[in-house]
Symmetry: C3
Subunit: 324 residues, 3 copies
């Protein structure tokens, strides 16, 4: 099956999932992000790469945080950005999703950044857009959140260099995390030495064996000698589903404390996709401590999103060329 994300020349056309993307492409994303990091750090933070391009943030579920990072990234590439909150707008007139997409692309929009509650929504949209339109997945159901995964990869590479000698532990709610699956795929593709998932049985997917990670239920064993600790956000609403006893008990069993972090390598870094629940997934002393790179992840997220957006639109034909 052809990978819808790539064109015949192997260029990125959509960014929906890290699954199935070759190592060299992931590395090109990281290298491109590296070049934008310098831009972000200058006081004039803009590059004219996407001047005249229009990017639509098409959000079917609200996420101010995610929308903000994509909007900033797009503006720093000099694109025009429109935010469309679908829940409160077009659907009220009973228009179908596909008709809405066809309309927006007829307005010569160049990219949809899609956030949706259903797994596969971004993929469905990418299958139906016109050739001039790129689609970036900003989180779909439990499935994938690939720019988050790539900013994590970028953060690891910036702090640790080569992936091959690294041991990485992903701790927490693997089952419901859009991020964890993308991370495991990306780490394996980039050749990470050892990927571990650390979680109670109730928060692991059934197919965990096929994900390409070693499973630990005991946090102390899972953290031992790792170079990178990735904590996941605990969705509090899961606790009502009896998957978790209580926040307090979760912290007792899986929270990252200074004492537990001491089991990892002394130069280990600690990551979290945010927003953090202090005292639940992570102790404040760790979140704000010297090994935490949580805020660096946020900074890196802008550069990685700039990379993905500019790569998806690079060398793309315009709408006019298609119509004729």
């Amino acid at each position: 099956m052809k990978n819808i994300q790539l064109d015949d020349a192997g260029r990125l056309r959509h960014f929906l999932t890290v699954e199935g993307l070759p190592r060299e492409l992931l590395e090109r994303i990281l290298d491109t992000a590296e070049s934008f990091s310098g831009v972000i750090e200058k006081s004039v933070k803009k590059v004219p790469l996407l001047r005249g391009r229009t990017i639509i943030n098409l959000f079917f579920e609200p996420s101010t945080r995610t929308r903000t990072t994509f909007e900033l990234a797009a503006k720093r590439l000099s694109a025009d950005v429109l935010n469309i909150n679908v829940a409160t707008s077009a659907t009220t007139k009973g228009e179908s999703l596909l008709d809405m997409l066809r309309n927006l692309q007829a307005m010569q929009c160049d990219m949809f950044v899609v956030r949706h509650g259903d797994s596969g929504a971004a993929h469905f949209i990418a299958q139906h857009v016109a050739p001039h339109v790129g689609v970036v997945n900003a989180g779909d159901g439990r499935h994938a959140h690939p720019t988050q995964a790539m900013l994590d990869m970028y953060t690891i590479r910036r702090h640790k260099g080569d992936f091959e000698p690294l041991r990485i532990a992903i701790v927490g709610d693997i089952l419901h995390s859009r991020v964890a699956r993308s991370q495991i795929h990306a780490l394996n593709t980039l050749g990470a030495g050892e990927v571990r998932v650390v979680a109670p049985r109730t928060l692991l997917p059934r197919d965990v064996g096929s994900l390409g990670a070693h499973v630990y239920h005991d946090i102390r064993q899972g953290l031992r000698d790792v170079d990178v600790v990735i904590t996941l956000r605990l969705q509090k609403e899961r606790m009502q589903g009896a998957l978790l006893p209580s926040e307090h008990e979760y912290y007792q069993l899986y929270g990252i404390s200074q004492e537990r972090l001491a089991l990892a390598r002394p130069d280990a870094i600690v990551m979290h996709p945010g927003p953090i629940n202090r005292g639940v997934e992570i102790e404040s002393a760790v979140a704000d401590g010297p090994q935490s790179v949580i805020l660096n992840q946020v900074t890196n997220g802008i550069a990685v999103r700039m990379a993905v957006m500019s790569m998806c639109l690079e060398g793309r034909g315009t709408a006019a060329e298609e119509l004729t």
Copy 2:
């Protein structure tokens, strides 16, 4: 009575309705839109014509779709755009409409794009703004939606050339349509050969005789030998008012099917202002078929709005000149 839309030199100052505008002005709008169509089709879609100008989308009723098209058009002219949803904002402090307008124009805004539920609202606003401010009607009550009418004219001209030999049928809810009145005026002004309206008696205005269109109640007679079929959107809320029996029955009587379209000329084009109700006003096979220009209308809408906005602001004095 002086036409508030034109200055003494005959230049467009506001765009409120196509009624009363001379043929050469409508043609200048179409010609200007033509020049912008080339811009839109380039990959760098911006022109600096309105750089430094501020355009306010002043929406008294929500319409994501219409707001999006004006916002895109303004940004492609390099203007700054502010969206103000009046329903949820200023009026909560009890400020009068005129005080709100005076404030916004004191902030040196150059244009109000007005959407309002009451007929004549845009006209009222245009009468009260300062001389440096242009007003564009983005739909007021049942009255007018002139940029929609002009994008329809532009679409017809692009596909059919000269208006004079053309027969055009407008099908559907003429009574409640903001678009139909504007279309009939524009078509007559531009010299269209024959304008028909096709609708049940309950969906025709009482003054239909004075609109300048031939009335048909039978869809098969109405479509015969026409060059252009314009379907109107059916407002579903009308059906509760007993003006319409049901969607199904409406489709039986007035829906555009492939079979009925065969009564028109073989090269007839099919238009719809969107969003379409598939299977109510129009069959999917027609909406997505080779004679449909529905998505072209959307594309053309950007160029036409760019034309109207830039013409209204062309050569206008600044606020400072007025104040001194």
Copy 3:
């Protein structure tokens, strides 16, 4: 105690309150605003001073009017602007205020324009942001609304020149006004000859004696021979708290009518922060009359906000310099 608003070289780093700012700094704000007034009045209203900078409107309570003025000012300085309505966004995920701020500044945002219902909120935020981030107070509780105060000073200076010979009366709800305190401070710092407050006892703060203003309860005595009349907005919700008998009675006692205005100097100007309640604080004949400068205040507000924003960011190090 060090003034958090100034750096060691006496430059403005945050603009939280006029209290404690030296006269020469207030004058520099007015002079800078003067230079931007020329820009605003040109038809191309933009200067590239803040190109590549990102300004976040961080609104914890909605105010379309205030948000609009800051957004326009930022765009005329060529900054990118993001609006974040905190009430409806981040807090829904339970993130703390400080974590939200840390995230936004990690995205390399340069300035927060803060609107908050609690006194001192902007000051709290300014104490916790990274060194590269400036904070501007857009109104916090009853405490301060310093850009409003400065646009009032600017308006007075533009119409009256030197502050020293002037008598200024501030009329209305001093107790609940975020603006009045800032105004009194600014007027005294700028050397105004005489500052009066005119209000019923129930609408004066207990510490009114220490504010630096003469207190009048009688409107006729308070207005006699003044050069400037500043009316405050009456918050209608106060009347439910029994602090005020009725709108009608308030107007009888403190409303600015033409007849009362005749007690002031013949060239006195009349100001109001808006939105005005016609027939409550002020008669329409006065609000729209030749002595009213109410709309000039609105225009001046853009220039003053441009001045404050550009001064706060002038010569500031970038985030990157801090991180290394």
